[in-house]
Symmetry: D2
Subunit: 356 residues, 4 copies
């Protein structure tokens, strides 16, 4: 019988938070001992999570006292609070001796400037930013092992960076604009009701939104490109067109990368297969197949397909992930596995929810 | 390390078959060693099940040789072949010493007559019919333990019988018509493409179909009512209006049962809670909640809610199941658990696929 | 060139209001001259209705001054304000000499009691209630001609009353409980964002809600049954189970009516065909067909199918309407056509929006 | 009372054909006198089109005799037959003196080669190809007036060409690859049931398909770019990534066009507004809005939005159309209007089907 570790989850009733509850609820080393939720504070887990009938715990307010959680033995806290909230709470949890995985943008690259722009105030956890490890798991080396503050990547950034970094890191890109397009399911817009997420407004139709260069995810993508690419002194040229489509979960994304030299389809496939052959959750599809959201739904996988166009001068990479799993809660757990020295795959599903 | 048993699945690439692959693939005592499929015979599991990347097995034709499967150690076969197919194959598998759980209607009550009507020929496994145990798990007593041929109930029958049998078996029903209504997701219509299941024809709209008294499921429901009810010499009066609604999985059903005497809401709730308090997968919702398909999606649970109307003379029972789990593959595995003397819950999920 | 009449619409940007804008925008005798909207007051029609690019009018606040509208020549006002709002405004519009069609429940049967229960105050337009004509068009005789305050029926009541009134009015019903079930699209829950209408909560799943006897629509249905039935001194026994299903528009409903004597399918079909043969918008489907929401989407039709069960003792009637057209804005326009002495069909679509 | 002209529709029961029936059924100058359909030959319109209850005509086989239609006075035939079928029939209809609008690819640019590749035989109407006018209405000049064979553009080509031709025709494009992405609803895959269009396979998920350079639509796009662009002697560099998303109708598309010189947002907006200011059905959205499928559903409009990225060196154009209207039947009717010298807008809807 393996020992379990008490874990805490903040923002537990949002979509990413609920997914953390699901994944950690069946993780062989996790024992959920703390659940924070603004909306369901004081309610039983039975009321907050009617789909998880066996969870038996009362939800606490968002203003969890770190020392109380520490007394319960909680050493790891996952936060799925909205952007801008955990920025001011993280310090207290760290001071109480807990390690943190934050699913918001608060400690990602560029968080400092983004917080100031949004709130008109300095980032309240500014001094922690250098300490935060950006947890795009497959592109981390040893740094997660000693981390006590992990910034979990955004869902779009996860799909797009896994798609473009192998080419960028190998100096295949010629520096001309990379065009990225992505389609996201509605869970990506969060659980708070709004006209954007109303069934009648977003169902049975599709729409681009915040296109071009305005999306917050561009900042973290550009930063990762600078880190893993070569020409670190230039601002990577990248446009990104996200779309909202009527499905609950999933992202399908593609990038068009202008190349510095001609490549063949075989070369391109080999580059990606070599890069990811030891990554349990990144699958480079062989042959004619293309990534589909339904093949990764509920799973922590990222499926990729590689194509070459324009007579070998343009690389096209297609990706599919479940935005709530590999794009959020699953990658957070994968990062925790790394922090603990466990295999990436511990407690994380490969199988998709089929025909759902 | 617990020993696993080799299992075989026929009709493995239909929706119920795929669900068997999913559930048995993670069942702690099962080891999938045979997969039969008309459509994907000769293909790898990777091609047939892109959502299950770790399954490593070649699919065989529908005309599996039972002796070959027996040589591989397979002692239990689950068949998700279409109605009318396994009727003629079951004998061979039984003769080879295997136990069978059939998800089709071929060995359910009334199968004899139904087969003749549909095919114009006598049921080819007619002599096996008395041997078949009708596997509505929560209403089976010891009989599954010794069974070698289990007829798994239909999805509608599962939801409706779990709803009405407690009242019927307690003589609450006055014999006037029970009105049953149900809404089913599109997986209930099977994987074969047709105009019925075309996205444009069935999406974004709802329709009743085969309403009134014509549905095949009525036969098995009437039989179960006779067995568990009292007035076995009369044909139970029952109408059933199924509807197709645009969701992938799930059944929501309700029954209106005219009562022989006045009952209070508390009496009604108590009857159902007492009946199912030891059933791990049937949950009687307390308070004002009502069953929703999304709370049981991917789970083997059946959620029930009990209401009393018409001044205590009418009982309303509402149910939700996942048609592919409790309504098909999950109940099949639950029956296998019973056949083996294992707990009902072994390898079967309580948790739902949330926000999917 | 036929002369057009100036019309005004209150609550113009909700779902029923927008549908009024659509229908009156192409009605040969209507000229939209006033649009009231809480949410879009001060905006142009182009901003409020991006789907109607040719509409050129500024939206006014909800607190429209009736005299200003009267000065613009408006003689007819359609109100799609939420329940409880027009109750206090109607008087002012009537006093200014305008005729009114109200799509809320404020002037329907039982409005008096319902308002008090909901608001804890007396209905502010109480004295107008006797003057209100309940506009279930096909069951109105001459009374719409002289009406200046028409209470448009609810969407569920429209589908269910058109289904059951022919049998009830012919004394076929034996008085035992009528069981009504209905499935509604999400526009039926209104445009205000809520967890109920969030794509992720209501998409890809189905749920019953406010089942049994608690639904407000039961009051107006019972009243209409009393008026058109015979036994007016008893409370009609009726249970109603509404469901929310993931489609934008449409209601599919059915009623099970226990009969006072045995009837044949032919008798039943004849009763309904005779009753509705002169109703342009009610179509009794011949043969085996059943009503489907997609065949009435966008149209003012109500499709019906008639079945007999339980050896002739139970009548089953199935109906489909578009909840925003025949169930709201379309019937409102149909009532206006009657008020003006025009044909029912003027400006109202028979054709459905197919493959949408 | 304006005189109507008898029209005939081939392939009338597919999705584009049904849309022709809908639009021509309410066109003030059309009188549908012939309907050909493989699947519904011999059936009444009532059976074939349950959503159009007033249509009263018997459907004929696909092998319509042109002379019989001619005798009925039909002078214009719209064909929505599948690709490859009308190629051999067109001649007979032309010989019988009828004018033709073909919605398939059979007479579009590149049809010759495409037919041979697909069928292994020479295009049977090869000699007619030079006579065919490519009917991208807004980019036709007088040539539709005298045309007797109009090749209606594909749905993707319509959205993409309307997006990129203004920039290309003004020599803004620098010749580096244009990246086009598009999302299409399921009607785009046709009415024939297949695993692609099965609700469970394509619902609640998204997938790219035939990406890169392999899509047939690329041929007609490249041809139009050559015609309206300048460098006619080079093969336009263009990649195209279509996606299938779970909606019934609609295309959302975008193109990224690398520019020969820097442009400002204002210059870009002006270019498009000037180009389309006299086009009734192309609307350049002002301000921050972006095209959405729901704003053009059921309408013949194409909504465009223009953005500039990469410091003025990359033009992004976003478009939304209804694939069955502007992308098929609506544009066909618009072309007929031009053939007859009527206004583009005659009988064609500007208003969208809202909240559907």
């Amino acid at each position: 019988m393996t020992e379990t570790l008490p874990v805490g989850i903040l923002g537990a009733t949002g979509y990413a938070g609920t997914e953390l509850v699901r994944l950690l609820g069946s993780h062989p080393r996790a024992n959920i001992r703390g659940l924070g939720s603004r909306q369901f504070a004081g309610h039983s887990a039975g009321e907050a999570f009617p789909g998880f009938p066996e969870l038996d715990l009362e939800l606490e307010s968002e203003d969890v006292q770190p020392c109380l959680w520490r007394e319960r033995g909680i050493e790891i806290v996952f936060s799925a609070l909205p952007h801008g909230v955990f920025a001011e709470h993280a310090r207290r949890f760290l001071d109480a001796g807990m390690r943190l995985v934050d699913l918001s943008a608060d400690f990602r690259p560029g968080a400092d400037k983004a917080y100031e722009e949004r709130h008109g105030l300095p980032h309240p956890g500014k001094e922690l930013l250098p300490r935060a490890v950006y947890g795009l798991t497959e592109w981390c080396n040893g740094e997660l092992g000693g981390a006590d503050l992990v910034a979990n990547p955004g869902c779009y950034a996860t799909a797009l960076l896994l798609s473009l970094l192998p080419a960028v890191a190998s100096n295949w890109w010629n520096g001309e604009p990379i065009v990225a397009n992505a389609l996201s399911g509605v869970t990506g817009s969060g659980r708070a009701p709004s006209s954007t997420t109303h069934f009648v407004e977003c169902g049975n139709g599709a729409t681009p939104y915040r296109v071009g260069e305005s999306h917050a995810h561009l900042v973290e993508m550009r930063d990762a490109i600078r880190i893993h690419g070569v020409a670190q002194n230039v601002e990577p040229r990248l446009v990104f067109n996200p779309h909202l489509v009527p499905m609950a979960r999933g992202i399908v994304a593609n990038v068009s990368i202008p190349l510095a030299f001609d490549v063949s389809p075989a070369m391109a496939a080999e580059l990606y297969q070599d890069r990811y052959c030891n990554s349990a959750f990144v699958r480079v599809i062989q042959g004619n197949g293309l990534p589909e959201t339904r093949h990764v739904r509920g799973s922590n996988r990222c499926d990729l397909a590689i194509r070459v166009a324009d007579a070998g001068r343009l690389l096209l990479v297609f990706a599919a992930i479940d935005n709530l799993v590999k794009g959020a809660a699953g990658q957070a757990v994968q990062n925790w596995n790394r922090m603990m020295g466990w295999p990436d795959t511990l407690g994380l599903p490969q199988d998709a929810w089929v025909n759902a």
